[in-house]
């Protein structure tokens, strides 16, 4: 419980902790600044070839150009949209399948080897088939993202379900709970932490799926910019897209972390 009448020693301790935290952040920012500064300078003085590695100032110029054409946010939005949809679908469908497997031990046992094989398969290999089936476009990209995260979701959510304390289930049974009540009252809520860590992994996986999908078929999006930039030898375009991609992936990860905080308040 909170106590605001700290002793002198405790206040010193808190100050030290805070100072350390500030120091970490300052160094983190410094690293970023130094990295981009040396990049800019070494490129400007031709120590490295700006044609091969690009240059921050040229990237900014290119970003301005994209923005004035109204395409900057369009590309970012397309990639984020495909990722979010693929990610949500992977999570929802994966959780539903995990529920079915939890419900029926028989189905779970039957499907077990298939899950193992599908999990081992590099899902990207399915890309061309999916494109062949649903055509060149967003649907194919979303489906690729979905297949990449789906199996991992099923496996990790199911593991979470099965790790639920047997005695907690017994407790509910003594109240006469049905199977769906057991799912609703204990299995699902106590697996939320596992599910959220699955979500965190899924954000990364969905990005992989979307970028690969865009490499294969897209006419817009960050993955398209990367491939296209490579083809027309525009490294500014490639580098800029990669940096924007990292930032948006990071933001989405943070959004999930925020969700985690919200759903686990009871842990404090």
């Amino acid at each position: 419980m909170l106590n605001n009448n700290f002793s002198k020693e405790h206040e010193l301790y808190l100050k030290a902790v805070k100072r350390r935290k500030t120091a970490v952040i300052i160094v983190q920012i410094l690293i970023l600044i130094i990295f981009f500064l040396q990049w800019e300078l070494t490129a400007r003085y031709k120590i490295v070839d700006p044609f091969l590695v690009s240059q921050p100032s040229r990237m900014i110029k290119f970003m301005g150009k994209l923005y004035s054409e109204g395409m900057l946010f369009r590309h970012i939005w397309v990639t984020c949209y495909e990722t979010i949809i693929g990610f949500l679908l992977g999570t929802i469908v994966g959780t539903l399948i995990a529920i079915i497997l939890w419900w029926s031990d028989f189905i779970c046992k039957v499907l077990d080897p298939y899950l193992v094989v599908l999990n081992a398969l590099p899902k990207i290999a399915l890309g061309p088939i999916l494109i062949f089936w649903v055509g060149n476009g967003k649907t194919a990209i979303i489906l690729i993202a979905l297949t990449i995260s789906l199996i991992v979701t099923i496996i990790s959510v199911l593991t979470g379900f099965k790790e639920v304390d047997e005695d907690k289930i017994k407790l509910l049974k003594t109240f006469g709970a049905s199977k769906s009540q057991i799912l609703r009252y204990v299995v699902f809520p106590s697996s939320i932490p596992t599910m959220i860590s699955a979500l965190k992994i899924n954000v990364g996986l969905s990005y992989v799926g979307v970028i690969v999908g865009e490499f294969l078929v897209a006419k817009e999006g960050l993955g398209f910019l990367i491939v296209f930039g490579g083809q027309v030898a525009q490294l500014d375009m490639v580098m800029l897209s990669i940096i924007i991609l990292s930032i948006s992936a990071y933001l989405m990860y943070e959004a999930v972390a925020l969700l985690e905080k919200k759903f686990t308040v009871w842990r404090s």
Partner: protein, 255 residues
């Protein structure tokens, strides 16, 4: 009058590797309003017995009667308290207590009011909105008891309810739990492997053999103390006498 009758109960577990007989032809009666303890070595089949009584397991043979009705599935007349409190961390204290009512869809105004009164009476009303991790082990066990009492059972089954607590807390909590059970006028059947705990709380103590559990003997605990509570019982002159007798009966080998 017998509240609960256990008749020639046997229970066999089947697994691929083996067949384990956990309970062997056990008969026992629990009288209305009494506190009966069952004591036996670990692994002898005590929890199995309680699970059968609670209707969670089907016995291999024999039957269990509660108020002359055979128990075949969990029913709200039987309250079960497990060794650990198993409060749900994601629910606050109040909604932990209403859990049983929610599952049985009996969350009426009166039942909620009754819970409020119980919380008040047992010094927990200030903690209604707390989460389990904010409570001490003893308090959590009290909450677990009230959660069991909330569905208004006729008989309480307690499976080593204090085993997870440290010694001092155990003394304090068993005192409180005993008082609550007596105040609510419930019949109680407690399983334990702690001899002094069994004597301190019970009107009768049934001693079981090693696995498979068979009834060896029943002791009527008569202590010369007034207004009996577990702590007072421990000071009764007869306490040691019962302790020694049960110790011998349990036949524990000291190596």
């Amino acid at each position: 009058m017998a509240k609960l009758i256990i008749e020639n109960l046997s229970m066999i577990y089947h697994t691929i590797e083996a067949e384990t007989k956990a309970v062997d032809n056990l008969s026992l009666e629990v009288l209305d309003g009494e506190f009966l303890s069952i004591i036996g070595p670990s692994g002898c089949g005590k929890s199995t017995l309680l699970s059968v009584i609670a209707g969670l397991l089907q016995p291999s043979s024999g039957r269990v009667l509660l108020d002359d009705m055979e128990i075949t599935k969990p029913c709200s007349k039987v309250g079960y308290m497990l060794q650990r409190d198993h409060l749900f961390e994601w629910r606050n204290i109040f909604s932990n207590i209403t859990l049983g009512l929610e599952i049985q869809r009996k969350c009426s105004k009166e039942s909620l009011l009754k819970i409020e009164r119980m919380l008040e009476k047992y010094g927990l009303s200030g903690f209604k909105n707390y989460y389990p991790h904010q409570l001490s082990g003893g308090m959590r066990q009290r909450v677990a008891l009230i959660r069991t009492l909330a569905i208004d059972p006729d008989i309480l089954l307690l499976d080593e309810p204090f085993a997870a607590l440290d010694y001092q807390t155990k003394l304090a909590v068993s005192e409180e739990v005993y008082k609550i059970i007596k105040q609510e006028g419930k019949t109680a059947l407690m399983v334990t492997h702690d001899i002094s705990e069994a004597i301190a709380l019970s009107d009768r103590v049934a001693v079981l053999s090693k696995r498979p559990a068979k009834l060896k003997n029943i002791y009527d605990i008569k202590l010369s103390v007034e207004n009996r509570t577990p702590l007072k019982s421990r000071e009764a002159p007869e306490f040691r006498h019962y302790f020694n007798a049960i110790w011998k009966e349990l036949d524990i080998h000291v190596e």
